[in-house]
Amino acid sequence: MTQESLLNVLELTVGAMLVYNFVLSRFLGICPFLGVSRRLDTALGMSAAVVFVMTISSAITATIYNLGLKKTFLINGTEVNLLFLKVLIFIAVIAALVQIVEVLLQKFSPPLYKALGIYLPLITTNCAVLGAAMLNSVNDRGIWESTVFSFFSALGFGLALVLFSSLRERLDLSAVPRPFQGMAIALITAGILAMAFVGFSGLC
């Protein structure tokens, strides 16, 4: 393996997961990060659903980008490029995809549906999922690269969510001064966690 391709693999895996963590470095997907992190078991369910949806949706949006959006068509002698419709197309595809996945899961894998079912509609228009698709297209990644990047990004999201929910479960048992109780101390904790993740920068 050449040094350059090794660096590329590192960037797509460790970089996506730790250095440019979706929640703590890019500030995407803050809503589920704060919303479903009160208990460890819901955090695990949400993380699994995000890994699932983000990987599939990125694979499909990357296919659309690489085979359709990126290309320039020549119609009546003028060049036409549909890249400006990127956000619109991606969000429509992701939303439809989540719907389809939900129906298929319910039919073919009831246990999985039972575990992820309540979280799937929550991530339909999650900005982390759209963000992964957008980052892939902005960086002009291929289909394989995009899928790997999204999978590891989603793992990073899950890591942050699980760490944070464990912290919050511990916080619930602590004597928190009154002005900081609830969401205030949660946000401060998230900030400190984000600072800790900055320690990874420069890794790759």
């Binding site: 068509f73 119609i75 009546n76 003028t78 036409v80 490029n81 549909l82 400006f84 419709l85 619109l88 197309i89 429509a92 595809v93 439809a96 719907q99 389809i100 129906v103 298929l104 319910q106 039919k107 073919f108 309540i118 619930d172 048992l173 602590s174 004597a175």
Partner: protein, 281 residues
């Protein structure tokens, strides 16, 4: 320019049609038929997912209702009208259970009950119980570290003066706090029962009086002034019989010497005054 507009309109329309068709086809082909009643019932349920019915959230309860495994009365939160509506959707008659609320059967706040030791561990009743039974000298009293208040999905429990007090107008009787309290002080009682004996200690009167100013010493004044069967004597304490509870006038009739036979409203007022620093006789 025009060709860009035409192409984008075309591309999006085609994409929309394809996605719409795909969703429609797949839900037609693979869709699992769910009873439309489930959605109707779910809309009527409170949606707090408190678990008071014993199911994992309102959606689970709605499924159990429709399949006949549960009855609407098991939801402790819904009002009578909502239960009637649900019963109507399900096409069944409603058996009306009494609405219940929680009550913390202890009057030993920090002024009334002596503190035996300084506890500065985790501020949680369950944790405090692990450390030599907590800081209060009464081994059966409220620890006042708000485990129940944090567990309550409806914020109906307030810690006043180091004592948990239930706000009756907020309590829906889901029973989450009952399971939380490590000292089993919280009881679900009929909402109509207004009078309680705020003591749960089974110890002898002399021992209770050493550690607390407001214990039930089983003097039986209340038993004598009430009608037969309104109170039960349980060892060294008296309990209200919640199947045949006394009216509010029993408080003045009995004249409890230790001030532990009180209506919920009086109890709340006393704790409020004590918190404000006024001494109540």
């Amino acid at each position: 320019m025009t060709s860009t507009i035409i192409l984008s309109v075309l591309a999006l329309s085609i994409l929309g049609i394809i996605l719409g068709l795909a969703i429609g086809l797949i839900s037609k082909l693979f869709g699992v038929a769910t009873d439309p009643k489930v959605d109707l019932v779910l809309e009527l349920l409170p949606g707090a997912n408190c678990g008071g019915c014993g199911k994992a959230g309102c959606a689970d309860f709605a499924r159990a209702l429709v399949s006949g495994e549960a009855s609407p009365g098991q939801c402790p939160v819904s009002s009578q009208e909502v239960m009637a509506q649900i019963a109507q959707v399900l096409g069944m008659a409603l058996e009306a259970p009494d609405k219940k609320i929680a009550v913390v059967l202890c009057g030993g706040d920090i002024q009334q009950t002596k503190v035996k030791t300084l506890y500065n561990g985790v501020n949680d009743c369950i944790s405090a119980m692990l450390v030599a039974g907590g800081p209060k000298s009464c081994a059966y009293g409220c620890l006042g570290m708000a485990s129940c208040a944090r567990a309550c999905p409806f914020n109906a429990i307030e810690i006043i003066n180091g004592l948990a007090v239930v706000h009756n107008e907020l309590c829906v009787g889901c029973g989450v706090c009952v399971k939380t309290c490590p000292r089993n002080l919280i009881k679900l009682v009929p909402a109509e029962a207004k009078v309680h004996i705020y003591c749960s200690s089974p110890e002898k009167a002399a021992l209770k009086m050493k550690v607390c100013n407001v214990p039930c010493i089983a003097c039986r004044k209340c038993v004598k002034s009430g009608e037969e069967g309104q109170f039960t004597i349980n060892g060294f304490r008296v309990e209200v019989n919640y199947d045949n509870y006394p009216g509010e006038d029993i408080v003045s009739k009995a004249g409890c010497p230790k001030n532990c036979l009180l209506t919920a409203a009086q109890h709340l007022e006393i704790e409020r005054n004590e918190e404000a620093g006024e001494v109540v006789a």
